[in-house]
Amino acid sequence: MRDERCTLIVASLLLLPGVLAARDIHYGAVASDAVAACDTVAWRGQSAADCYREILGSDAAAAAKAEAAWALGDRQAANELFRAATSANPDDTTALVRWGDLYAASHQEAEALEMYREALAADPANAYAKLGAAHVLAGRFASEAGLYLESILSSNVPDGARVGAQLLTARIALENGDTRLAAQSLDEAEALIREHDWPPLDAHALRAALDLDAGVEDNAWIRRALDYNPAWGNVYAIPAHFLIIKRRYREGIDLFQRAVDIEPGLASAHEQLGINLLRDNQVSRARRHIEAAYAEDPFSPRVVNTLRLLDSFSDFRLVESRGADGDVPIILRLHKTERDVLAPYATDLVRESIAEFTSRYDFTLTEPVIVEMYPDHDDFAVRTAGMPGLGILGATFGYVIAMDSPSGRSVEEFQWGTTLWHEMAHVFTLEATDHRVPRWFSEGVSVYEEWRSGPSRGVRLSHMVLDKMRDDAFLPINRLDEGFIRPTYEGQVIVSYMQAGLICRFIDQQYGEGKLAAMLVDWRDGAATPAVIERVLGVDTDAFDDAFGRALDAEFGTLLASLDDWREKRKQLTRAVDNKDWQGVATIASELITLMPGHVTSNSPYLVLADAQRELGKTGAARATLETYWQKGGYEVGALGTLVRELRAAGANDKALAVHARINLIDPLNAELHGEYGELLLAAGQPQQALREFEVALALAPHDMATAWYRMAEARMALGEKAKAQANLLEALDIAPNFRPAQKLLLKLAGSQ
């Protein structure tokens, strides 16, 4: 099945006939009156097949026949007819734009964009081409969509294109949480729709979404849409989309289910229902709908990718931890090759985070927490968005977390423990608010908890973030969500994460502990950001922004003023390293640390300073530098490994143990480090913990299996488990009969029995 799907996905999507997909309402984009007449019937939910067939059998223009073939589900014929239409009349940009619409509806957005651009090259004022391009770009959450829409709405264009633009504007506004603009755009669209007697279905569905956003229980717009067309599934699917955007997955699932109930052939709704059921851990039900989507439309990359992912689930294993009485269970879905390595640490970390956040946010989880870790990043991306190529490390859908496993990324760029901690904070902010928390606050709390209570603590801001802070590019709190959903410059999503983290930190430190938890309560009750800020913090958002800005100035002003100086010193540092001028290196690195004590991310001056101190023979100072680096949240595994060795050499085993624990949350796949950690634990009189490390080392199938078994035996001896110790020793000696330490332990064991 997997191979077959792989083959299908690379084939041209338009080669095969029979893909049944309803055509969207086109608001006059089609020139043919005959087609428009059939469409009017179809959009009422009545069968128009004969009507379309009549066009196909007539001597109508090729473009009209293409529309008819498309409506009948024969996309291959539609494709050929559009080709014929545009060949016969190269100046007919109307047919070219509709051809692009066919491609867009067939998951070939890039080709569609090319056609729209071609149409615009021939007819720069073609509003339907601009609208098509805007639709494709908006589907990618690309801000360029807005440029096309502005161009349409500021020009004298056909009413149909204006309606389409207003509806799309409303859609984007709803995604951004701007309900006022959404309502205003809908007002204007509806007036034109009424004037032309076009179907009001899209507008009704968007109105329904607005009502849902406002918490209106009795949704009259859905009833009105169903009166117009009782089989139009999008009346549920469109509002569901906005619920999903706001991470209200279960409510979205309910609506998608209704959509397919009244329109069983609506592939896109089956697809979204399946993907979101997976987010709710309803795997079997999800598979049914993904397969239904595949049956209706086998060319959706999201569907094909998700089916492949579901096939791969057979390589994963579930590990359940029930915990103590009153604890929620923790269920891990881990790849079979990593289960024994990751399960102990992931379970402990999740349990620890639950204890921390339950107390801090005054909210108790009520369902099992499910954590999935994917060794293949593209699997995680498909799990999260249905498509590969996602740039994030983890995603939380409520009680379900999906993330990269440590082997999914390099140790330099990924701290799996910190990511899991971040995602666990999302579980609390989402569930405590019934998924009504705004994105900025949920991300802000997660980032802040990374810094405050996570495995690698300390505020870590990149230079890009500092640059934006200096350039006053932080968004007002009211608009911070836009930075996540529709970024306007490269890197804005990261900047928004950090700004949100700084805001939550500011609230916690400035307004007092408990305020963040109090804000969650207000969001659960449906309040918007301005009201929450005002009620909980006692200031309006403008005043809050001012206060936050002043706090940033106070904390970072000196640093921001010296960023250029900092960069110059970095260059000096590089030159000094190249010249092996270790005294110079030490001096400059120390100055850099003074300027930015929290710089423990890549190219940290702490590491350069430690190297220089070592070169200068100041090993104690080098160790102290690395200790500071570690305490400030540094996570470069090589440096931490060096620190462990230096701490052990200095007899500081307690600190070495703490550093080892940090390493496990960054690089748990290194058998040697587990062995060393276990030996330290054993020496510290912690045989149970040592045994865990040795078991993990063994699960990693190290090169030296004899030592791995021997260490297990040592720990079991310390625990008084003599029979198991003997069995472990025999495993070691079976590999290495002359392994002297194992021989001695065997004799000792025999003597003690």
Binding site: G408, S410, E412, L669, P702, I735, A736, R740, L746
Partner: protein, 306 residues
């Protein structure tokens, strides 16, 4: 065979491969051009490690190192010409090439100052040796190109890449050198590292490196040839374990017998019930452990007597 007398213990330990035991062992190490400082330093460190380890295996006259100005094609070829005239079939030859290699889809070259050493040169100088056991180690880029050319009965090849088309600088040499000093490379805990152990250790480290750094692996080491676990590349204990003490010699012979007995038991494992196997193994391991106590005690007594 004088070397054999000096190394009684290793000869006994290797007696299973009797054809190899007590052979005259010659080790040749060639350090190629590094180019960039980091490679120059890296190659020097690797050669240092290999030279140190080899020094514990053979007397100085059987260890030849070509590095810096000495690492010239003509000098190397001349050395091997002389060696060929003196070698006999029972000997062992270990040749290490540490440096960069290149391959143009037809010809392999090991980069030296002056004329490079070509694949044909290497094949010719090895083929000319009478030594029945030859270990050829090439830690550099494109070394895989030599696999087919050098493969021969009795010859063990440790190559950093699987083909000549893997042309990027390699990490294999770093890890191979580490195997010579890292006790974890010695998987059977006989205080020595065989060619097989060293290769598997380095191969695993190479794979781990690329995986942990999420990089596409640009090198895939390959081991060609049989009996790689029978040839020692490094020893962790001093070679001066030999004895003229009859009592100790008898104990060492007894240990050799026991090890053979244990080996025979392990070979029968698949035919035995698990409980029976473990019971038999336990009995033999306890006996071996007690024997080892006696050996240590005798060695200590001899030491004290001196």
């Amino acid at each position: 065979m004088s070397n054999c007398m000096r190394q009684l213990l290793p000869c006994i330990a290797l007696s299973i491969a009797s054809a190899m035991a007590c052979a005259e062992k010659t080790i040749v190490i060639v350090e190629g051009l590094g180019g960039e400082p980091r490679f120059v330093q890296g190659f020097a460190e690797q050669v240092d490690a290999i030279e140190t380890a080899s020094g514990k295996l053979v007397p100085p006259e059987q260890l030849q190192v070509f590095r810096n100005a000495d690492a010239q094609r003509d000098a190397i070829m001349a050395y091997f010409e002389t060696l060929a005239a003196e070698s006999s079939p029972g000997d062992e030859l270990l040749l290490y090439l540490v440096g960069h290699g290149s391959y143009d889809d037809h010809h392999y070259k090991f980069n030296l100052a002056g004329p490079d050493l070509t694949g044909e040169d290497i094949a010719g100088l090895l083929d000319a040796q009478a030594a029945n056991v030859q270990v050829f180690v090439n830690t550099g880029s494109a070394s895989g190109a030599l696999g087919e050319m050098l493969e021969r009965d009795g010859r063990i090849l440790l190559l950093a890449t699987r083909s000549g088309r893997e042309r990027h600088a390699t990490r294999f040499g770093t890890y191979l050198a580490d195997a010579f000093v890292n006790e974890f490379a010695d998987t059977n805990k006989n205080a020595s590292v065989s060619a097989g152990e060293a290769f598997r250790f380095a191969e695993r480290q190479v794979a781990d490196f690329y995986e942990r750094h999420n990089q596409l692996a640009t090198e895939h080491p390959q081991l060609i040839g049989a009996m790689a676990d029978r040839v020692v590349l490094a020893r962790f204990t001093s070679a001066a374990d030999a004895t003229t003490d009859d009592a100790l010699a008898a104990l060492l012979v007894e240990r050799q017998t026991m090890n053979a007995d244990i080996e025979a038991l392990r070979l029968r494992r698949e035919t035995m019930a698990a409980d029976d196997y473990h019971a038999a193994l336990l009995e033999k391991m306890l006996a071996l452990a007690m024997l080892e106590d006696r050996i240590e005690a005798q060695q200590e007594a001899l030491q004290n007597a001196r």
